[in-house]
């Protein structure tokens, strides 16, 4: 066969592969919907779970996941914001800056179970917060720190120089410049980072499964030392009863809810990110 035919075959092949990849991933989503939807009876999101999770809904699990997420962003945002601003506005030593950037990457790639282990030791034992939603939020906060930092840094660094020059020309102090110019202009990047961080925290199981959660007995936490039920650990426990159709059905339902939450947050983050891009191109 000649070269042109050979090429067409190769092209068709990799085209097929690409199509299959997309199809596979759609299939996965499809399976999740097919299996999860039947479990999502009317009150699923608002009922509490019954019979060791084999019946009922996931209201308190969803609440627990949301509480951990919100707590994580609460602790993480100031640190991320402060550290990025410090690095971009005040730090001059290039080597130190590169070092800090490397640290961000390493923290980002660290296996999350390690956050759970060390986090329990540091927060749970040394700072005596025990196994609680506070410990969980703190651990998740450290985990999503790089996610927030990357987004904020991108927003601050792509800010056109003319804004800063204008500030200088007006004789503003640096603090004022940061407060009135840089922060408002990088708002969208900040929100993108927060939403991505929330999405990441929502899906995290390993870091919280022995540091922040309980399977039963708690509805809403009533003190700072209470653990919480979460969607992720709920699914984990049910997944281990793979032979029981009721458990698995509940697991699928909870999984669909979790997936929906993560997708919602990711899509929201994107919509903000496009606005960021549009702003910086003005």
């Amino acid at each position: 066969m000649n070269a042109i035919t050979a090429e067409k075959i190769v092209l068709a092949f990799i085209g097929c592969v690409t199509f299959l990849i997309v199809a596979l991933l759609f299939l996965i989503l499809g399976i999740m919907f097919l299996k999860g939807l039947p479990s999502l009876h009317g009150g699923f999101l608002f009922e509490e779970s019954k019979d060791f999770g084999r019946a009922g809904g996931v209201f308190y699990q969803l609440a627990g996941t949301l509480i951990l997420m919100a707590g994580a962003v609460l602790w993480s945002l100031p640190v991320a914001l402060g550290s990025v601003l410090f690095q971009t506005e005040y730090l001059r030593a290039e080597k130190f800056k590169t070092f800090l950037t490397q640290l961000t990457y390493i923290l980002n790639a660290t296996p999350t179970i390690l956050f759970g282990l060390v986090g329990y030791l540091f927060f749970g034992v040394y700072m005596d917060t025990g196994v609680s939603w506070v410990t969980g939020s703190l651990i998740l906060a450290v985990m999503i720190l790089p996610t927030l930092q990357v987004s904020i840094r991108e927003a601050v660094e792509t800010l056109p120089e003319k804004y800063r020059e204008a500030g200088m020309a007006l004789g503003l102090s640096r603090a004022t410049q940061i407060w009135r110019i840089i922060l408002p202009q990088s708002f969208y990047g900040l929100v993108t980072g927060v939403l991505l961080g929330l999405a990441r925290a929502a899906g995290e199981t390993a870091a919280i499964m022995f540091t922040a959660t309980t399977f039963s007995g708690i509805q809403f936490p009533q003190s700072f030392s209470d653990p919480v039920p979460t969607l992720q650990t709920h699914i984990l426990v049910l997944a281990q009863e793979a032979a029981n159709p009721e458990s698995i059905a509940q697991a699928w339902g909870a999984g669909l809810v979790l997936l929906g939450l993560v997708f919602l947050l990711t899509l929201a983050a994107w919509s903000f990110r496009t606005r960021l891009v549009m702003e910086s191109e003005l």
């Binding site: 509480i67 196994v131 309980t214 039963s216 809403f220 009533q222 009863e241 032979a243 029981n244």
Partner: protein
């Protein structure tokens, strides 16, 4: 901007609602329980019943007998659940914790096999045969009068109560190594799932977890066949029996004592029976 404000307001409202139940009283009104998945249904259902007439909150978590003992010794929980005794090694390690054991029920451990193997005729095994299976010396069901299929040997995590008790009976050593194992599972639920999913598995399971897909074999001891039934357990003939224990560090006080007394009392014992176990005092140990 307005959407942003609404979003934040919504979040604030959500959290106000969530945290509105924060009491000033704090965690003193709370009992934490963790450990054996065998004891867990008893603790969980009793907790539900107990909380109907009390303002105390009771948290129940799984993890396994080892986790239960370790957690209560480390002061992380108020009650540790264990489906076995505290091992000599653990007693030594946790000497300072002054562990006290409170039995709340009785359970038996079955040598469980996949229903397909059971239906094909394997109804009994000798302890020696079981030992050889777990050591990897017997690999096919046909060697024990079963179908021609390789045996899927399901083992459990080392600290699990069910494993300790089972291994103690089969090998005389609670921490016996089992080179013939193919898989390792954790909770009773996981073990049950793996045996049910396979069609040639063998494992160790509490009586309460047996079902249509997971059947128990009779044990043959000194030529006599011992059926795996509650009858046999009550008569004292079935050899693999254990107490379901609540373990505390030191003597229990106040709410913890009240709860343990509740479980040991008539209402609690009814729950023990409903959960598939034997109440205290109805068999000879």
């Amino acid at each position: 901007m307005r959407r942003y404000v609404w979003g934040v307001t919504g979040l604030v409202l959500f959290f106000t609602m969530a945290f509105s139940s924060f009491t000033v009283a704090g965690p003193g009104m709370r009992i934490t329980i963790a450990g054996s998945t065998t004891v867990l249904p008893v603790a969980s259902r009793s907790a539900q019943k107990f909380m109907e007439s009390s303002s105390i909150r009771i948290l129940v978590n799984a993890g396994g007998s080892g986790v239960g003992i370790h957690s209560v010794a480390g002061g992380r929980v108020d009650i540790g659940m264990a489906s076995r005794e505290v091992s000599p090694d653990e007693s030594k390690r946790f000497e300072k914790s002054n562990l006290k054991i409170h039995p709340v029920g009785i359970d038996a451990v079955a040598c469980a096999i996949s229903s397909e193997v059971y239906d094909a005729g394997v109804r009994q095994l000798t302890p020696q045969e079981i030992a050889d299976i777990y050591l990897g010396k017997i690999r096919n069901w046909k060697e024990v009068k079963g179908p021609d299929r390789q045996i899927v040997v399901v083992d459990k995590e080392r600290h699990r109560g069910t494993r300790h008790v089972f291994m103690q009976y089969i090998f005389g050593n609670a921490l016996q190594r089992t080179p013939g194992a193919l898989l390792v599972t954790g909770s009773n639920n996981e073990e049950q799932a793996k045996i049910a999913q396979s069609d040639s598995a063998i494992g160790m399971l509490s009586f309460a977890w047996l079902n249509d897909d997971v059947k128990a074999v009779a044990l043959v001891d000194r030529g006599k066949e011992i059926l795996p039934t509650w009858e046999m357990v009550r008569q004292g003939s079935y050899p693999i029996v254990r107490k379901l224990n609540f373990i505390t560090a030191g003597e229990p006080e106040n709410e913890v004592k009240a709860f343990i007394d509740f479980v040991k009392g008539p209402e609690g014992q009814k729950i023990v029976e409903e959960s598939g176990y034997i109440p205290l005092g109805s068999s000879q140990p």
